[in-house]
Symmetry: C2
Subunit: 581 residues, 2 copies
C-alpha cells in the first residue's frame, strides 16, 4: 500500500505513473472507510482525488501554498500531508476536522468553512510573498458552485490586477450542493463543450489568463497542465472538468444526495440513521407548500441549501415558479426578497444562521431601512445546530437583533413557530426574521397567539413571585426546568416568561415585575455579548432588580459537545440555582 508510506508530499513525488493510479484508488478506499463510518462530504472528495495527487506532485507544499475553497474537499490533501491515519483508522477519525485547519498542519493556511473565500484569501498570501520579495506558487482551488458567491466574484475580478504568480484551479463538476443556479453556469457549460475554446469566457472577461483541462480525473493530464502554469508570472485560471462522486456509482448518479452523507452501508448506499419522526425541515416545507398552493404570491427563496427547510428535489418541482434557489448568493437572496416584498409578493428567504452572516448589510440596507415585509427564516441558530467553528449558530442574535426595524421572533415550540411564520407571511408592516427551533420538535397543548402585530409583548406562562425567568426560544424548555428547580430549592414558584420578541423590550411587563420580584434571570441560546439578556440588564441597570444573564460566553468554539458546553456556561438548572441562591 502506497498511502501507508506517505508522510508528506515529498513521498508523493517519489511515485511513478502506475503508482499514482494505485494511490488514487487507495485514497478512495480510505475516504470510503471514514465516510461510511463517520460521514462527511462525499461527492466533493471523491471527485478531486486525482487533482490532489497532481497538485502535490507538481507543487511543493507548504512553500507553494494551497488554499481550498470551503475546504470540504481537502480530505485527500490531508491524507497526503501527514494525516492519513485519520482516514485509515477509526481510532484516529477525530484527529482531524472536516475542513482545513492550520492547527493540524503547516500545509493548511486557513480555517475555512464558508464558500467563495479562497481567491481573496490566497491573493493576500500572494501579495505578501511579493512584498517580501519571496518566490513560490500560490494556488486557490475553488469549485464551480462557489463561483456564484459575491466574495469569489470580487476576488476573481481583483485577481487580474494582482500581478505576480497566482493560480486559480476551478474544479468544475457541474454541481453545487444541489444543481447550480445562475447565468455563469451556461458559460461554464459552453467552455466544457468547446474544450475551453469558446471565445466568450467568464474568466477572460474578468481579465484572467486561462487554461482548460477536460480530463479532470486523469492524474497525468492534470500534471501536464499544472506543470505548464507552475512558476507562472501572472494570474491564471486552470479550469478542470471533474466528476463529482467519481468512483462510487451511486454518488455519480445522485450527486445531490451524495454531496454529504451520514454513515452508510457501502454495498447498498443505505444510510444507517433513519430520519423518522418529525423534523422542522419537513414540517416547514409541508407548511410552505400548502401556503403556496393557496396563494400564488407566496414565494420561497433559498441560497443553495434548499433541503435544510425540507425542499428536496421533488418538493422544489412541486412548488414550481414559487420556489427559487438563487445558488450560493446570500446577498442577492436578501435583496431579492426585499424587492419581492416591495412589489406585493410574500417572500420567505432561508439559510443557516452562520450563512446569514453574509447578509448583514443587505438585511440592514436593502431590507430594514426600506421596511419591506419579507420573512427571513434562520436555520440551525442554536447550540444544537452545527458545531464546526465555521458553522456556529450562536451569533445571529447579536448580529441581527440590533438592526433597527427588524422584528426577530423566537418561537418555543412547533405551534408557536408556525403561527409566527404565518403571521409574518401575511403581514405587510415589518421585515421579520424567525429563529427556527433547533432543540427537537416540541408541541404544546396551550393556545398560541395568531397575531404578533402588537410588537414586543412578552407572554407570562407561569405566574409566580420573587424570581422571574425570561426563557427565550430554544431555551424555554430549560426555563421550565430552572423554574422547577427554583421552586424546589426556595419553596416559592418563580414567574416564567416566554419573551417571543428578540428585538424589543416589553417595558410595561418588565416594570411590573419590580412589584413582587427581586431577581430576573435571562436564558438565551446564543452568545451573550450583544444579545438579548444584556438589553434586560440595561433596562434594570438603575433599579434594584438583580439580573443574571445566561447564554454563551463570546468565543469561537469548535466541535464541542453540547452537554459540556452547557456545563461550562452554567446552563443547567442545578448550576443556575447554585449561582443565585
Amino acid at each position: 500500500m502506497y498511502l501507508e508510506n506517505i508522510d508528506s508530499p515529498a513521498d508523493v513525488k517519489k511515485l511513478d505513473k502506475e503508482a499514482r493510479v494505485v494511490l488514487a484508488q487507495e485514497l478512495r478506499d480510505a475516504l470510503m472507510n471514514r465516510l461510511s463510518k463517520k460521514g462527511g462530504h462525499f461527492g466533493p472528495n471523491f471527485g478531486i482525488v486525482e487533482a490532489t495527487i497532481a497538485l502535490h506532485y507538481v507543487f511543493d507544499s507548504p512553500k507553494d501554498k494551497f488554499v481550498f475553497d470551503v475546504s470540504h474537499q481537502s480530505y485527500c490533501h490531508k491524507m497526503l500531508t501527514g494525516r492519513k491515519d485519520a482516514y485509515l483508522y477509526e481510532e484516529h477519525f477525530t484527529d482531524v476536522s472536516g475542513y482545513t485547519n492550520p492547527d493540524e498542519s503547516e500545509h493548511d493556511f486557513f480555517n475555512v468553512g464558508h464558500t467563495s473565500t479562497s481567491v481573496s484569501l490566497a491573493s493576500g498570501l500572494a501579495k505578501a510573498r511579493d512584498l517580501k520579495g519571496e518566490t513560490g506558487n500560490v494556488i486557490a482551488i475553488i469549485g464551480d458552485g462557489s463561483l456564484s458567491g459575491g466574495e469569489a466574484l470580487e476576488g476573481l475580478d481583483y485577481a487580474a490586477e494582482l500581478g505576480g504568480n497566482f493560480i486559480i484551479v476551478v474544479n468544475d463538476n457541474d454541481m453545487s450542493i444541489a444543481e447550480n443556479h445562475g447565468g455563469l453556469y451556461k458559460n461554464l457549460k459552453e467552455l466544457r463543450e468547446t474544450k475551453g475554446t469558446a471565445p466568450c469566457n467568464l474568466f477572460k472577461a474578468m481579465g484572467l489568463d486561462y487554461l482548460y483541462v477536460d480530463e479532470g480525473n486523469n492524474v497525468e493530464a492534470l500534471i501536464e497542465a499544472f506543470e505548464k502554469v507552475k512558476d507562472i508570472d501572472h494570474p491564471v485560471v486552470v479550469h478542470i472538468h471533474t466528476q463529482k462522486g467519481k468512483g462510487y456509482k451511486l454518488a455519480e448518479e445522485n450527486r445531490e444526495n451524495w454531496h454529504w452523507s451520514s454513515p452508510f452501508n457501502v454495498e447498498t448506499g443505505e444510510r444507517f440513521a433513519k430520519g423518522g419522526g418529525e423534523s422542522y425541515a419537513s414540517l416547514t416545507s409541508a407548511y410552505l407548500l400548502d401556503k403556496m398552493k393557496k396563494d400564488e404570491k407566496v414565494v420561497v427563496v433559498t441560497a443553495a441549501m434548499p433541503t435544510n427547510i425540507g425542499f428536496t428535489a421533488d418538493k422544489r418541482k412541486e412548488a414550481g415558479k414559487q420556489f427559487i434557489d438563487v445558488g450560493i448568493a446570500e446577498e442577492h437572496g436578501v435583496a431579492f426578497v426585499s424587492g419581492l416584498a416591495k412589489n406585493g409578493a410574500k417572500p420567505v428567504f432561508s439559510t443557516h444562521s452562520s450563512f446569514m452572516q453574509r447578509t448583514y448589510d443587505q438585511i440592514s440596507q436593502d431590507l430594514c431601512i426600506n421596511g419591506n415585509p419579507a420573512t427571513l427564516l434562520v436555520n440551525t441558530a442554536s447550540i444544537y445546530g452545527m458545531s464546526d467553528v465555521t458553522h456556529l449558530g450562536i451569533f445571529d442574535i447579536p448580529m441581527m437583533s440590533n438592526i433597527p426595524n427588524l422584528v426577530y421572533l423566537a418561537p418555543t415550540n412547533s405551534e408557536e413557530y408556525f403561527a409566527m411564520l404565518d403571521w409574518s407571511i401575511e403581514q405587510d408592516q415589518y421585515p421579520v426574521a424567525v429563529r427556527i427551533p433547533c432543540n427537537g420538535v416540541h408541541h404544546t397543548q396551550e393556545p398560541v397567539d395568531a397575531d404578533y402585530g402588537e410588537l414586543n409583548r412578552y407572554k407570562v406562562t407561569q405566574e409566580g413571585s420573587q424570581v422571574a425567568i425570561l426563557a427565550l426560544g430554544d431555551f424555554y424548555q430549560l426555563g421550565e426546568q430552572v423554574a422547577e428547580a427554583i421552586k424546589t430549592h426556595t419553596g416559592v414558584a418563580p414567574t416564567l416568561i416566554n419573551p417571543r420578541y428578540i428585538t424589543g423590550l416589553d417595558e410595561a411587563l418588565l416594570s411590573d415585575l419590580k412589584k413582587n420580584h427581586t431577581t430576573v434571570i435571562t436564558l438565551e441560546d446564543g452568545s451573550l455579548e450583544g444579545g438579548f439578556g444584556e438589553k434586560i440588564a440595561r433596562f434594570y441597570g438603575s433599579s434594584d432588580m438583580k439580573v443574571y444573564n445566561y447564554g454563551l460566553k463570546k468565543e469561537f468554539i469548535d466541535r464541542y459537545k453540547v452537554s459540556e458546553l452547557l456545563e461550562e456556561n452554567h446552563l443547567t438548572p442545578e448550576l443556575i440555582v447554585a449561582d443565585i441562591f
Copy 2:
C-alpha cells in the same frame, strides 16, 4: 423654460427632439444651481442627464419601475418626477434627499445609498410582477464602478435565470469614485472600443442578452435603444457609454475631484470651504506613508474610498505597490488583508463604518476565526459622521464588537489614535480594528501608552468617588464635561475612565469601583443596543451598582442635526445630571 412645466414624466413625453436637447441643458443648469450652492454628487448626475430624459420618454414610470444603483445619480430623475423645485429654488433645497426615497415620490422604490444593490432589488420587483401576472418594465440603472461589488455580480448572475422582462442599464463612464480597479474593466474597455462587438463579453458570459450604445450622452440614440428593449420578454443589458461630469469642463477633466463636490464658484470651480487645519484623513495618510517607507511589509488597502484616509492620487502614487485600492469590493478587501497578514505582511484596510457592514462574515470567518493580525480602520464611525440614513456610522460597535477574537479600540485623541494604530500594525497576535476619531482632532499633553497588548485594561484619567464615568472614544470629551457638571452639582468629583477597549471588560477595575462608587455612567458614540454600555450593565447586573447607559436609541435616522440628536438621547451634561440626581 421647459423644466418649469414638467410636473411628471407625462410632460417629458410631450417634448419634441429639439425641446429634449434644450431640456438637457436646463437640467444641467438646475444641477449647477443646487450643487454649486449646496454641494452633492456632481459627475454622476452631469453624465446621466440624457439617459434620464430618454428613460422617462420611453418608459412609463411608475408602472415601469426604475431602480437606481446607489441612487446618487437620481437628481435628474427627481427633477422629472415632480421634484424640480428642489433644484431650481434654494428655499426648496432641503425638500429632497441625495438618494431615491419612497417617502418623496411614487417614482422611487427604495431608500438606497450603498452600491451594487440595484440588480437584486429590481429583480425582486420583476419576479413579484410575474407572480401577480402583471405587466410593465423593470429597469435597473447601475454604474460601471458598482459592478465590482459582490452583490451586483451575484445579482447579474442570477438575473439570467429570472425569465420575463428585465432591463439592466449599465451606465459606463469608465470611472468609479476614483479610477476603477479589477479585471472586468479591461473587458468594458474592449467592449467600448469594439462598439460592443467583442466576442468575449462579461454580460454574455453571465448568460445575459446585450445591447451597446456608444453615444450615451445623445438623447436620440438612447431613445432608439430603449425602445428596442421596451417590453422585452427576457433579461437584457443595455451598455451605454457616457461621459462623467459631461457639460462642465473642469469635471470632465478631473473626474475624481468632481465625483462629489462641496459648494463652489461656478466660474472657477473653486470650493468655498477651505480644508485648512488638521484632519484625521491627512494625518492618517501622512503617518501611513511614513510607516510604509520604513517597512516594505506595511500595505494599505482601500475599497474605492482612498481619499477618506487621505490617499489622494499623489499619495497613492507615492505609496506605490504598498497601496492597493481594490475598487468597490469590501468583502474581498477584508479577506485579502487576512491573507496578507497570514503571510507576514502588515496590512491596514479602511472604509466607512457603514460600508464595513458589507464585511461582517469576512471579519468573522476570514479574519477573526483565523486570528490573523490585520488592522481595520473604521472611518466616520460616529454621530459626527455622515447623516444620511444609508450612511450612518452608529452601528459598527454592535456589529463588530461581538465577534470573538477581534480587538476593537476606541482612541480619544490624536496621540492615542496613532499609538493604537502603530501598536496594531506592529503586533502579530490579534485582528485589530481602530475607530478613527470623528469629533475633531483633539490633542493631549498626557503621555499615551505605546503597548496595548495587555488587553482590556481601562485607563482611569480622573480619580474620584461615588460616580464613575466610562467615556468611550469620541465621547471622552463629553465625559469630561459630565464629570465637571457632576462635581458642580454634588460637590464630589467623580471618577473618569477612558475604556479604550470596546471588545472586553476590565473586570478587575470594574470590581474595584464597587468599593467607593454607587453609580456607573457609560457614554458611547453609537447605537446602545448590542453596544458597549450593555456589557457593563450585564457585569453589574447582580450587584448593587446603579448603571446608566448613554448612547443612541436603536433607530434609523435621516439627515439629523447633531445637536438635536444629542438632546433627544440625553447626551448633554445637563440632561445626564438631571436624569441621575
